[in-house]
């Protein structure tokens, strides 16, 4: 009975492995279609370079699979160097172009047997295929709860916020791409030794589309996705055959229809049907970890000299000088368009100044793409328009925030070392403590996308606090809050400063800024127009005019 289905079973495993090579990049939000080309190169180099007879007693498969994975990973790395800066469909089409070029080059090459392909022995049994599949699935299972896996998910949800939390975007994206290449390589070798034959046309556009479809149908939010997708898509034609549906066109039509139904009615793919029973949970018995002490009060945190940023002819920030010492709460106010957010983006390393110099926690402001360095040095921020990782839970959001104060755990998780579990527990405790600090502890298991507006603003702060920042930048945290909530926020900010955190507060709520801050800087038209303690600023006629207009209502002046 089972004998009739060995080919189908093997095919399910192989298709799933190929789908994992798409999953590997989809989980970081990248769409790549080059895996067929990588599989092709790996398959040919492993099968053609290896002799058919056993090498020192080892089957060609035992040597071939690692060779294929190595080839896939190396080529993916080389391909990634130029294409990793592309996003979305551009990346998809560039990698598709690569795969097509590989196909045509291999067809025209001598050593591959050209379009005829090469014949190889059949070595892959269902056991071998499923063994390889389990290894790959194991990798992604352990990846899910690791710091690396969370970083990839954060990139998928919001790349900029992930960078601000200290995730090294280009390295993570490349790592995902190389992983994908290695798995595609494994698939190429397995497919060759399964179908007895390898031709360049096995790895064309249609193959790439099939792989992508399998991965998306399965879903990219859970490691079981590719397996489910493969099981579903591979068995549909088999079931139709068993039911006696024979006409040539009905099968592809029904497959297309099912695909459409899944994609329209199951947004997270088939794996969204499986409840997430192992989302990280808080264990209140574990205390928040001891983290290195913050610098003593008065240490220089931030120093800007003549800093400016121009977009073409528009000077968003011009010649700003600013000193900030540890333990201060500096308020940055100014009318809309005064350059506040631009200044903050410069300070947190998300954009590059066009003039002037500055250092933040000892790091000079410099080339773009270095945002993670500032995060690692102790700068953490919130965003004016909240940029949460919507499909992750509240707790997971805070865990990504703790990225820079935790250690990588993937390798140790693969080996089940207890130290990985301890590190994860410490990270959880750190994240949970910040949630408690802003009053969100009871919402830990909810998806961030489901939070109310005020809770989203609070989660932004908790996520930023989880990084144990020396300098915390709050970009309009009270926007949309009512008076009572703003009051609570003000109290929270003052307790943070008592803990030694330096706070840079950008806010439109002038009353709150005056009550909270130790010092205030007023920006207008990109330049500093006033600076001083709250009492001075409140009386400064220049500020009053900039803010309220010369004849404006006076009720915000305290």
């Amino acid at each position: 009975m089972l004998g009739d289905y060995t080919a189908t079973l093997t095919l399910i495993a192989l298709t799933a492995i190929f789908a994992y090579s798409f999953y590997a990049v989809l989980m970081a939000g990248q769409l790549s279609l080059g895996q067929a080309g990588l599989a092709s190169l790996a398959g040919f180099s492993a099968t053609v370079v290896m002799p058919d007879s056993p090498v020192v007693g080892l089957s060609p498969l035992v040597v071939g699979i690692p060779v294929g994975m190595l080839v896939g990973a190396c080529v993916a790395f080389l391909l990634g160097l130029p294409v990793m800066r592309l996003r979305g469909v551009f990346l998809a089409i560039a990698t598709l172009g690569f795969a097509e070029m590989v196909r045509i080059v291999l067809i025209n090459a001598e050593w591959t047997g050209g379009a005829q392909g090469t014949s190889v022995p059949k070595l892959v049994t269902p056991g071998i295929a499923w063994g390889c599949l389990l290894l790959v699935a194991y990798w992604f299972w352990r990846l899910g709860g690791s710091r690396f896996g969370r970083g990839l998910a954060a990139i998928r949800e919001d790349e900029l916020a992930a960078r601000a939390m200290g995730v090294h975007i280009s390295r993570y994206r490349m790592a995902a791409f190389v992983t994908s290449g290695a798995i595609a390589g494994m698939y190429g070798v397995l497919l060759a030794y399964f179908s007895r034959f390898i031709t360049p046309d096995d790895f064309g556009f249609a193959a790439a589309v099939d792989g992508l479809v399998t991965a998306v149908v399965g879903g990219s939010l859970l490691f079981l996705g590719p397996l489910l997708g493969s099981g579903f898509l591979t068995s549909v034609p088999e079931i139709q055959r068993a039911l006696g549906v024979e006409a040539g066109w009905i099968r592809p039509f029904l497959s297309g229809l099912l695909l459409l139904v899944v994609i329209l009615f199951l947004p997270g793919g088939l794996s969204s049907l499986i409840p997430r029973w192992r989302t990280p949970r808080l264990d209140p018995s574990i205390p928040a970890p001891e983290l290195p002490a913050l610098p003593p009060p008065g240490t220089s945190v931030l120093s800007l000299k003549g800093l400016g940023k121009a977009y073409g002819g528009l000077h968003a920030v011009r010649s700003v000088d600013l000193e900030l010492g540890s333990g201060e709460i500096l308020g940055l106010i100014g009318p809309n368009g005064a350059g506040k957010t631009t200044l903050v983006n410069l300070i947190s390393g998300l954009s590059v100044p066009t003039s002037g110099t500055g250092t933040v926690l000892g790091i000079p402001l410099g080339p773009e793409g270095q945002g993670h360095r500032f995060a690692r040095a102790g700068v953490s921020r919130t965003f004016q328009h909240s940029k949460l990782f919507d499909r992750l839970t509240v707790l997971e959001n805070a865990l990504v925030g703790a990225h820079v104060v935790t250690r990588p755990t993937l390798l140790r998780r693969l080996l089940w070392l207890p130290s990985a579990r301890r590190d994860e527990q410490r990270a959880l405790a750190q994240a949970g403590a910040q949630l408690a600090r802003v009053g969100l502890a009871d919402r830990a298991g909810v998806n961030a996308g489901a939070l109310s507006y005020g809770d989203r603003r609070r989660l932004e702060i908790a996520r930023a606090l989880a990084a144990h920042p020396t300098l915390l930048i709050l970009d309009e945290p009270a926007a949309g809050m009512n008076h009572v909530e703003a009051q609570e926020l003000s109290t929270l900010i003052r307790t943070l400063a008592e803990d030694g955190i330096t706070v840079l507060l950008i806010e439109h709520n002038v009353r709150m800024v005056l009550e909270t801050c130790t010092r205030i800087v007023v920006l207008n038209f990109g330049g500093v127009i006033a600076a001083g303690d709250p009492a001075t600023i409140a009386k400064d006629p220049v500020v009053i005019e900039a803010y309220l207009g010369s004849d404006g209502p006076a009720d915000s002046r305290v």
């Binding site: 294409v83 979305g88 172009g97 025209n108 459409l260």
Partner: protein
């Protein structure tokens, strides 16, 4: 010279196909992978109209155009509209359009079988022109004329009409367009209809040109179309047109100087070079990310 002309004729078909592709991307920011299925469908239907119903090619082209528009409406309604507002609309749109395209092809197979179809021998007049030692057939002129005519018509539509203004408004910002009273759903549906109509005409013209239709013809043109819209700049109509003709020319010369087996590398060689040197394409505008 003969080669240059041949390149332009083939290239104008690529351009027509790619313009439909890039129109949807430019206005709606969606890649419609069922576009190639419309192309294939219209090739088969065109052959049936001419071969079995005895329609002249002059009537077959408008008939296919209308059919393409209808298919475009179906694609929009079935594969794209249900995804509106979804977080993963980008990925999901790719997959749902692949699914719908696959269903179209399955229906084609049901009607016409898996074999290659051809026109009857006397389907079009075999009139030739000699111009300075270069031979041009009437068919080639028709292909060029129809393609250029449709492309110019589209340019007029987008730049000069109320509908075109609506399309450009939706391309800029769908929410703002809706607030300003543009019926976004109708503009979206119309864009799909126009896009597919152009793809359909490209399909029937290619079927005339190579005198055959096959189930796999869509894959090939889809890859080329993707290359063309990247080279020309995503969403740029002018870029797709020039890119298509440039690809036609490049292929002809590749066959002549490198060998026919390398022809298909040309499109992707161009594509790769452009993506690395000028990711926004020859005529695309660079998009600025905002914080």
């Amino acid at each position: 010279m003969q080669q240059v002309l041949n390149g332009i004729f083939a290239g104008s078909i690529y351009a027509l196909f790619a313009i439909g592709f890039t129109l949807v991307f430019g206005v709606l920011d969606r890649l419609n992978l069922a576009h190639a299925a419309v192309f294939t469908t219209s090739a088969y239907v065109g052959i049936e109209l001419v071969a079995d119903l005895g329609l002249s090619i002059w009537l077959a082209i408008p008939a296919v155009l209308v059919m393409g528009a209808v298919l475009g409406l179906v694609i929009e309604r079935v594969a794209f509209r249900p995804l509106k507002g979804r977080h993963d609309a980008h990925f999901a749109g790719l997959i749902s359009s692949i699914a719908v395209g696959g269903m179209f092809l399955a229906l084609l197979q049901a009607r016409y079988g898996p074999d290659t179809r051809r026109f009857p021998a006397d389907a079009f007049p075999s009139t030739d022109f000699e111009l300075g030692g270069v031979r041009i057939t009437l068919l080639q002129l028709v292909i060029l004329g129809v393609s250029l005519g449709l492309m110019l018509g589209l340019a007029y539509l987008v730049n000069r009409t109320r509908l075109g203004r609506g399309m450009r408004a939706v391309a800029e910002n769908p929410h703002a367009a809706a607030v300003l009273g543009v019926n976004v759903d109708r503009v979206t549906a119309t864009t799909f209809a126009i896009s597919s109509a152009l793809g359909a005409v490209a399909g029937v013209l290619l079927a005339f040109y190579v005198n055959s239709a096959q189930m796999t013809m869509g894959f090939n043109i889809e890859l080329k179309g993707l290359a063309v819209i990247i080279v020309g700049g995503m969403g740029s109509l002018k870029g797709a047109m020039i890119g298509g003709i440039a690809l036609g020319l490049a292929e002809v010369f590749a066959v002549q100087y490198v060998g026919s087996s390398w022809r298909d590398v040309v499109a992707f060689g161009l594509l790769f070079g452009i993506l690395l040197l000028r990711p926004q394409g020859l005529f695309g505008a660079r998009q600025v990310r905002e914080v």
